[in-house]
C-alpha cells in the first residue's frame, strides 16, 4: 500500500511539475509559436460572423467618449469595437514599438502621437498598412502638412490624422484689466500679432502693474515650446538632417523663453504638473499658449472660480501642438475591416463630431465648414468662437519637418535646459550646453 500511495503522490507531483513547466514554456513560446500574430485581437471569430476590432489608444483619446464606436457598430452590425487604453503615451509608445517589431500583442488599430509618427514613417513603415489606398479616404480633405506627416518618403500613407493642435493664447480678462491691458480678444491678438517679441513686450507691460502674486505666463518651457512649434524648422531640416543646434527657430525660442525667465515674467511652473493645475485654480498667471484640447483642461482646473475670466486670442504665430494619427498594423487579423474603421473615424464628419464633443480639433480641412466647427462657441471662455479662431490658426501653422527624435529633443531641451533657467536661475548659456550634452548622449546609439 505504501508503494501505491507513494507512487501516486509522485505521479501527482510530477504531473503538477510538468503542467507548470509546460505552461511556462508555452507562456514563453507563445509569441513565436502562434501563427496568428494579432495576439490581442483574439476573439476575431467570437460570434459567428461578428468581427471584433480592437483599438489601442493612450490617454483619454476621445473616440469612445464621443460615442463614435457605438455609432460605427450601429452602422455595421457585424462589427464589435473594443478599446485598449494606456494612460500615458510614455508607456504606450515603447510598448507599441516592441509589439510592432515582434508582430504580436497589437491591436487592430493603433493610435500614434504626432511626436512619434516620424519614427514610424522612418523605420517601421513596412509593418503598417498603406491607408492612402483605402476606399473613402480623400487626401484633399486633410490639411496637407498633416497628411504629409503620416506619409513616408516613397508615398505610403501609414497614418491618417485624427486631430491637430493649432495654438492660440488663452488669457485672463480680469488680470489683463487690472494690469491695464486690453481685454477684447481682437485687441489682445493685435498686441502681439505676428511677432513673439511683442508677446514679451506685452509681458513687460503687464508686469509693471501686475496684480499681486500673478505672473504673465505659466513658465518658460511653455513659451519655448510654443515658439518652436511656430517656426519654419525645428529640430530637423527638410532632408531629415538633425539641425537643432543651429536652427534659427530653436534659437529664437530658447532666447525668448530665457528672456521671459530672466525678466521674471513667469510663474516658474512646469506644465501638466500638480502645481500647474493648482495655479489655474489660484489664478497665478495671466496667459498660456493653448491648443483647442487645452480649453477643457483649463476649465477642469480653473473651475467655477475661473468662469468667464478666461478668453482665447490668436497667438503671435500659430504652431501645432499635439494631435494624433490612427494606424493599422500589418500583423493584425482584420486589416481590411480595421482600415475601413480608420477611414470612417478620420473622415471630416466624424472629426467634426469629435471636436463638438471632445474639443479635438479636426485635421481635415473639409470639416472647418461644417456647423459643428464653424459655429462652435465656448461658453466658459466668454463665448469665444473657438471654431473660427482655431481654424484660422490651423491655416497659419507652418509646414514644419518633423523627425524621429522630436519628442526626446523637446523634452530634454525643456527638462534639463530651460527648466533650470526658469526655476534655478541657471545662466541660459550654461543650461543650453547642459541640454545639448544630454541630447547628444541620448541620441548616440
Amino acid at each position: 500500500m505504501r508503494y501505491r500511495t507513494r507512487t501516486s503522490r509522485t505521479a501527482v507531483v510530477l504531473a503538477a511539475v510538468t503542467t507548470l513547466a509546460a505552461g511556462l514554456l508555452a507562456g514563453c513560446a507563445e509569441d513565436s509559436d502562434e501563427d496568428e500574430p494579432g495576439g490581442s485581437s483574439g476573439g476575431g471569430g467570437g460570434g459567428k460572423g461578428k468581427t471584433t476590432l480592437t483599438v489601442g489608444v493612450f490617454g483619454a483619446f476621445g473616440l469612445q467618449e464621443a460615442g463614435l464606436y457605438d455609432e460605427y457598430e450601429k452602422l455595421n452590425p457585424d462589427i464589435n469595437i473594443k478599446q485598449n487604453s494606456v494612460q500615458r503615451n510614455e508607456n504606450y509608445w515603447p510598448a507599441l514599438l516592441t509589439h510592432l517589431s515582434s508582430g504580436s500583442g497589437l491591436s487592430d488599430v493603433q493610435a500614434v502621437e504626432v511626436g512619434n509618427i516620424a519614427e514610424l514613417t522612418g523605420t517601421h513603415a513596412s509593418k503598417l498598412v498603406d491607408l492612402g489606398k483605402t476606399s473613402g479616404v480623400d487626401k484633399n480633405a486633410y490639411l496637407d502638412w498633416k497628411w504629409q506627416q503620416g506619409t513616408t518618403d516613397d508615398g505610403k500613407t501609414i497614418g491618417l490624422g485624427t486631430d491637430i493642435g493649432p495654438t492660440g493664447i488663452c488669457y485672463r480678462k480680469d488680470l489683463f484689466k487690472k494690469a491695464g491691458l486690453p481685454t477684447d480678444r481682437e485687441a489682445v491678438g493685435k498686441l502681439w500679432a505676428g511677432d513673439w517679441s511683442k508677446y514679451l513686450d506685452a509681458g513687460k507691460r503687464y508686469q509693471k502693474k501686475a496684480p499681486k502674486g500673478t505672473a504673465f505666463v505659466d513658465g518658460a518651457t511653455g513659451v519655448m515650446a510654443a515658439v518652436h512649434a511656430s517656426g519654419k524648422e525645428k529640430f530637423y531640416d527638410a532632408e531629415g538632417e538633425l539641425i537643432y543646434q543651429d536652427s534659427a527657430g530653436v534659437q529664437e525660442g530658447w532666447d525668448l523663453a530665457a528672456q521671459f525667465a530672466e525678466a521674471g515674467l513667469t510663474a516658474k511652473l512646469q506644465q501638466f504638473q500638480p502645481s500647474w493645475d493648482q495655479a489655474f485654480s489660484n489664478g497665478s498667471f495671466a496667459t498660456v499658449t493653448c491648443p483647442p484640447w487645452m480649453l477643457g483642461y483649463i476649465k477642469d482646473k480653473a473651475g467655477d472660480k475661473g468662469e468667464d475670466q478666461w478668453d482665447v486670442a490668436a497667438a503671435p504665430k500659430p504652431g501645432n501642438w499635439g494631435g494624433s494619427f490612427l494606424t493599422v498594423p500589418e500583423a493584425g487579423k482584420n486589416k481590411e475591416e480595421a482600415a475601413k474603421l480608420v477611414a470612417w473615424l478620420t473622415a471630416p464628419k466624424q472629426q467634426a463630431k469629435l471636436f463638438d464633443k471632445r474639443a479635438s480639433f479636426p485635421s481635415a480641412e473639409a470639416a472647418y465648414g461644417l456647423p459643428e466647427v464653424k459655429d462652435a462657441k465656448n461658453p466658459y471662455f466668454g463665448d469665444a468662437p473657438v471654431g473660427q479662431v482655431f481654424a484660422k490658426a490651423a491655416e497659419g501653422v507652418p509646414v514644419q519637418p518633423i523627425g524621429p527624435k522630436d519628442g526626446i529633443i523637446s523634452q530634454y531641451l525643456a527638462d534639463t535646459g530651460m527648466l533650470g533657467v526658469d526655476q534655478k536661475g541657471t545662466s541660459p548659456d550654461k543650461a543650453w550646453d547642459k541640454a545639448v550634452k544630454t541630447i547628444d548622449n541620448a541620441l548616440d546609439q
Binding site: 508503494y3 511556462l24 501638466f272 502645481s275 526626446i408 535646459g417 546609439q445
Partner: protein, 341 residues
C-alpha cells in the same frame, strides 16, 4: 526506510536454495515475473527517494531560469551589441564598447555618485533608527502588537502612493507641508527638488520612511532570540540598560545586522521608483541637473526613453557587477568578524 530491504530480502529467494517444497517451487515458478515487478518497485522507490526532492524544487528553478537567469544572460549578450528598442531583433556587435563608453560617460558617474550618496544617507539612519525602535519594542509595552503592526505599515504601502504624498510634502510652493513647517520656525522656503542635496535628502527620506519598520521587525525578532540569562547576569554585574544594549544586544545581533546591511545595500543600489516618481512628471532624468538620477533611473532612461537597449543592458550588467563586488566585500567582512569574535 527499513521495511524495503527486509521486504526485498524475503521477496527474492535465492536461486541456489535446496530442498525447496513444492509450494515453494510453485512460488518459484512465478518468480521471474513477481521478482521483476518487485525489483521494478524497489527501483522506483529508490528513484523516488533520490529524485523527488529535485522535482519538488524544480518549479522554482524553472521560473528562475526563465525569469532570472535567462534575462540576466540575454542582457549580457545584448550589452555587447548596438540594439535599439524600436528594432530589438536587429543587433550589431560592438564588443565592449557599451562598457568602455560608460567610463567617460558623465551621466553614468553622476548616477553612480548619486546612488552612493542616496544609499548612504538612506541606509545608515534607517538601520540605526530601526535598531533603536526594535530596542524600544523589545520592552514590555502596552499594546506592543499594535506598535509592531504600525511600524510595518509603511512597508506595506505602495512606492507610488508614498512617493506622491512625499512630493506634495516637499513641494516648492507654499502648499508644501515641510516648507510650511519650516516657515513656522522662521526658516525660508526650500526648493527641495532643485537643490542637489535637498533633493537627495528628500528621496532618502522616502526610503527611510518605507524601510525602517521592516528592519526594526527583523531586529526585534533577533532580539527575542537572545537568551534572557545574558541580560540577567549582566544586570547582576551592575550593567545599565545602555551597557546591556551595547555589550549584550549588539554583539548578539551581529549576523542580523550584517544581513540587513546586505539587503539594504542591494535595495539602495537598485533604487528606482522613488526618484522616478519624485521628479515632476515622472521624468527619467532625475531633476533638471540629473541631481537625483540613480543608476536604476539612468538605465531606464537609456533603455526606455532614449531607446538604446544595448547601452541600457551594459548599465544593468555594471550594476550587477557592482552588487557582486559589494557581496564579496560583505563576505570578507563577515568572515573577519567571525574570526575576530
Amino acid at each position: 526506510m527499513t521495511d524495503i530491504p527486509s521486504d526485498t530480502r524475503t521477496a527474492a529467494p535465492s536461486t541456489g536454495e535446496e530442498g525447496a517444497a513444492p509450494r515453494a517451487r510453485a512460488v518459484a515458478a512465478l518468480d521471474p515475473a513477481a521478482e521483476r515487478r518487485r525489483a521494478r518497485r524497489s527501483r522506483r522507490y529508490r528513484w523516488d527517494m533520490k529524485w523527488s526532492p529535485y522535482a519538488l524544487i524544480a518549479p522554482f528553478f524553472l521560473f528562475f531560469i526563465a525569469f532570472g537567469l535567462f534575462p540576466l544572460l540575454y542582457t549580457g549578450w545584448a550589452s555587447l551589441h548596438r540594439v535599439e528598442l524600436g528594432t530589438p531583433t536587429d543587433m550589431e556587435w560592438v564588443g565592449l564598447r557599451n562598457f568602455s563608453r560608460l567610463l567617460e560617460d558623465d551621466f553614468f558617474w553622476n548616477a553612480l555618485r548619486n546612488t552612493f550618496t542616496i544609499g548612504i544617507i538612506s541606509t545608515v539612519p534607517q538601520l540605526v533608527m530601526a535598531l533603536g525602535i526594535a530596542h524600544l519594542l523589545h520592552y514590555r509595552l502596552r499594546g506592543s502588537m499594535f506598535f509592531r503592526v504600525a511600524i510595518l505599515t509603511p512597508y506595506a504601502t505602495s512606492v507610488a502612493a508614498a512617493t506622491l504624498v512625499f512630493v506634495l510634502m516637499f513641494s516648492r510652493t507654499d502648499h508644501g507641508m515641510i516648507n510650511w513647517a519650516l516657515g513656522l520656525i522662521g526658516v525660508d522656503a526650500v526648493d527641495w527638488q532643485n537643490g542637489d542635496w535637498t533633493a537627495q535628502f528628500a528621496v532618502s527620506s522616502i526610503v527611510i520612511w518605507r524601510w525602517t519598520g521592516y528592519n526594526a521587525l527583523i531586529y526585534l525578532a533577533a532580539m527575542q532570540a537572545i537568551p534572557n540569562d545574558l541580560y540577567e547576569s549582566a544586570a547582576l554585574d551592575g550593567a545599565s540598560r545602555w551597557q546591556q544594549f551595547r555589550h549584550v544586544t549588539i554583539p548578539s545581533l551581529r549576523p542580523t545586522i550584517l544581513f540587513t546591511c546586505v539587503v539594504s545595500t542591494i535595495g539602495a543600489t537598485q533604487l528606482f521608483g522613488e526618484p522616478l516618481l519624485f521628479s515632476q512628471g515622472a521624468s527619467p532624468t532625475g531633476g533638471s541637473d540629473h541631481q537625483f538620477q540613480t543608476l536604476g533611473l539612468y538605465l531606464y532612461e537609456q533603455g526606455w526613453f532614449n531607446q538604446h537597449l544595448g547601452r541600457s543592458s551594459a548599465i544593468a550588467w555594471t550594476m550587477f557587477l557592482i552588487l557582486v563586488l559589494i557581496g564579496l566585500v560583505n563576505w570578507a567582512i563577515s568572515r573577519w568578524i567571525r574570526r575576530s569574535a
